[in-house]
Amino acid sequence: MSKLIFEKSVKGARAFTLPESDIPPEKVSEEIPADFLREEDPLLPEVSEVEAVRHFTALSQRSYGVDSGFYPLGSCTMKYNPKINEWAARLPGFAGIHPYQPEETVQGALELMYELEQMLCEITGMDSFTLQPAAGAHGEMTGAMIIKAYHNSRGDTKRTKMIVPDSAHGTNPATANMLGYKVIEVKSDERGLVDLEDLRALMSDEIAGLMLTNPNTLGLFEENIREIAAIVHDAGGLLYYDGANANAIIGIARPGDMGFDICHLNLHKTFGTPHGGGGPGSGPIGVKSFLADFLPVPVIEKHEGKYHLNYNRPLSIGKVHTFYGNFGVMVKAYTYIKALGSSGLKAVSQNAVLNANYLRTKLAGCYDIPYNRLCKHEFVASARKQKKEAGITALDVAKALIDRRCHPPTVYFPLIVEEALMIEPTETETRERLDAFIEAMLEIDREARENPERLKEAPHRAVIRRPDETGAARNPKLKWTPKD
């Protein structure tokens, strides 16, 4: 059993010590009224430095990152995170600057942000960027705010609905709801793409816009994107690009050229910055010039070789982050783009698509692939055959992969595919890794037929067996409490 740090506490043990105070003893004073002081010390661990270090080292060994092995988690773009980027973000000239320092003392940081915005404009075909959103969903929210601000600025207040595809990420409808929009779903057609007839029927002067991922969550390129854009624009709506899947098209096609008005990018997916076990990410958004006035404040401007933060933007939606966004993540993404350049970024998408199609081709004989044709950076397989024949579900397949020291794909998403296994290999995997994954998947399929009971018990070799998730939700225990 893994002990909690609190259970390793030894009264009086400690790691950190303050330097001796240099305040002259006669000048030491404290002026906090007694009513404002806490009565009991907060219950924090009491451990030595070596025990603290061993505790967290042991916990790292019970975790799994991209550096540990293959991580084909669909829609998450778990690519290798180059180490030079980590070095760059930790430079004292970046990590040690306060957000409110005078502008003349942070010119290097402002230049990096300004240049990053320019590069993202070129990559996406948009006209202006903000780096302020701290994650993809935060970018979506900022984008939806800009859609609302735009319609409001035109006195067009009856647009109370937002369209999202039935294959959309959960963040799309949740974002629309946060902005007070009623969410309308557009169907996918038999080819897995937005159903144009359905879209036409849904459009009206009450529609604020359409939020779309391209390639979509099935890994398929929305081939009719220009027609989709025309349908939305003709009815006065705006087209929002969810950049979760941008790793498929960098240097090949641009949202700005497809007719999108707003787009976000996930620096932590497409631009090689690590996911940190759930964050921090960074979700910059780009807009076409007619929306630039609505971007959050401050915007970075360049005059005569000097960079400034401009807060004086009357049409701006305001702020979505206390400061300027996740600067440390921006440094990593900037370094990544500078490392690769145009040819390197194009090779990223080419190889991401190559790897996905290689896996799709090799797995197609064994697993059902509902939309089995040329895919982009990911594809969705299904365990419905295994379920029907042997009672083995997508979840069982996932757990069996864990026994083979491989992170499972995204399961049960998108919702329009039953027993979905959403597989995104990314461009940074060798053929040998892909072949080992294929071998594991084929072996699991064999085991499904030969020994399904053992599969339903998987994993067998992980640090725990399957946890009781129902019990966890029914009887939530969200913190440790001391047993007296």
Binding site: M1, A15, T17, D22, E30, I32, F36, L44, A52, S63, G65, C76, K79, H98, Q101, A109, L112, I123, A134, A135, E140, M145, A174, N177, M178, L179, E223, I225, G251, R254, G276, G278, P280, G318, V320, H321, T322, F323, G325, V329, V331, T335, K338, A339, S342, K346, V348, N351, L354, Y358, L374, H407, P408, T428, T430, R465, R466, D468, L478, K479
Partner: protein, 440 residues
């Protein structure tokens, strides 16, 4: 640089397996008219040698608080980060992992989040805490939104002693239409309890109090405000400085329903404003409305202790348009930094750090007063206060000339922060420069 591992001959064989003539064939589904028929206009690819040179030069154009005494605070603080925090964060099983969706492969990450949630609960005196939010401002905005959902009311009262940028973030989030934000002018550097209580009514979803507030002052009428807002079944939301909680009575003890704050001070570098850490804690009554990830303890099928993401029915990936928040990625690695930090400084250490910050601030007050300056507000503070200066911009410029990063410029005052990293010698220099200006 190139991070694509397959050499061309392998790519060729893979294309053959797929049945594609060349790599362009793999993009046949993108209409020709949409394809970019040129290279992206970006700088040419660079080697690591060149990248190091360029990035070091860019970083070198910034003045780092590592090299100069820094008295800037206003929501971001120059606290010491123990070396072990930085080292452990480089364990790549942590930093290259995704959100722990697969518990059997993620027990380490899940356990660190569970420990983080416990520490935040113990610091704030609240029942539960989530796995993190983007930063202090957005955590506070989500708290206001939750209060409106939980009470089915619209009105949020906020004294203008709350961080002005937090207020801007809340106003932006209010575009959703479910919140009506009313700012209430403060009085003498603190919230005006009479003004607030006179505005509290049956439509009030919550009152927001930052304590210590933006000006560093303790909010002295907390009790009165708490009684008034709970009297109409509204919520009390508090934004707090986690370092102060080594010393100050926690939000739970003041009767807060939601406690949030900026957790950057706990082991995260200044990093020009991000990535930071929004912490979010609440009472048990609000458990099923809390935004973001929650980790719970359970057992596996053999009865072993196990940790999982739980109560996911609240979240966007399950609940979609009915979710209270759209948050997905959070600031997990910053929360891990906070967990390691709080482990290393420990129970005694946090108290000592809080006390040292306060003592240094008290010492600075004496020195500044001796130098002929006056504090803008004569009120109890924790580690930050405003000192009256007619031209704060000029004062900051004079300090910078002396190698000191000055304070946050207020109208006719400088807001100065004192962390445990500051020394008496640094404070003496600060007082001498500002005193010189005051005498001019």
């Amino acid at each position: 640089m190139n991070y694509v591992p397959n050499p061309p001959w392998v790519v060729r064989q893979m294309l053959d397996t797929i049945g594609a003539k060349n790599i362009e064939d793999l993009f046949a589904d993108i209409p020709e008219a949409l394809k970019l028929k040129r290279d992206l206009n970006l700088p040419r690819p660079q080697s690591e040698v060149e990248l190091r040179r360029e990035l070091a030069a860019l970083a070198g154009r910034n003045l780092s608080a590592d090299d100069r005494p820094c008295f800037l605070g206003a929501g971001a603080y120059d606290h010491y980060i123990p070396a072990a925090v930085e080292q452990l964060l480089l364990r790549s099983e942590f930093y290259t992992a995704y959100t722990p969706y697969q518990p059997e492969l993620s027990q380490g990450v899940l356990q660190t989040i569970f420990e983080y949630q416990t520490m935040i609960c113990n610091l704030t005196g609240m029942d539960l805490a989530n796995a993190s939010m983007y930063d202090g401002g957005s955590a506070l905005a989500e708290a206001c939104s939750l209060a409106c959902d939980a009470t089915r009311r619209r009105k949020i009262l906020i004294p203008d002693t709350v961080h002005p940028r937090y207020l801007e973030v809340i106003r932006t989030y209010a575009m959703g239409g479910k919140m009506e934000i009313i700012t209430v002018p403060g009085k003498d550097g603190v919230a005006d309890p009479d003004a607030i209580t006179s505005m509290i009514d049956s439509r009030t979803a919550a009152v927001v109090i930052q304590h210590p507030n933006f000006y560093g002052n303790l909010e002295t009428a907390l009790q009165q405000i708490e009684k008034a807002v709970h009297g109409v079944k509204g919520l009390l939301i508090m934004a707090v400085d986690p370092i102060s909680l080594g010393l100050l009575k926690p939000p739970g003890a003041w009767g807060a329903d939601i406690a949030v704050g900026e957790g950057q001070s706990l082991g995260n570098p200044l990093s020009f404003g991000g990535p930071y850490l929004g912490f979010f804690a609440a009472t048990e009554q609000l458990m099923r409305r809390v935004p973001g990830r929650l980790v719970g303890e359970t057992v596996d099928r053999e009865g072993n202790r196990a940790f999982v993401l739980t109560l996911q029915a609240r979240e966007q990936h399950i609940r979609r348009e009915k979710a209270g928040s759209n948050i997905c990625s959070n600031e997990a690695l910053c929360a891990l930094a906070a967990t390691i930090y709080l482990t290393l400084v420990g129970r005694e250490g946090l108290k000592e750090i809080a006390r040292r910050c306060h003592q240094l601030a008290c010492y600075a007050k004496q020195k500044l007063e001796q130098a002929g300056l006056k504090l803008k507000y004569q009120r109890p503070f924790f580690k930050e206060f405003a000192v009256t200066i007619p031209d704060p911009r000029a004062a900051n410029a004079a300090l910078l000339k002396e190698g000191i990063i000055g304070g946050y410029e207020l109208d006719g005052a400088l807001l100065l922060a004192f962390t445990e990293k500051r020394t008496c010698a640094e404070i003496d220099r600060l007082a001498s420069v500002l005193g010189g200006i005051a005498r001019e």
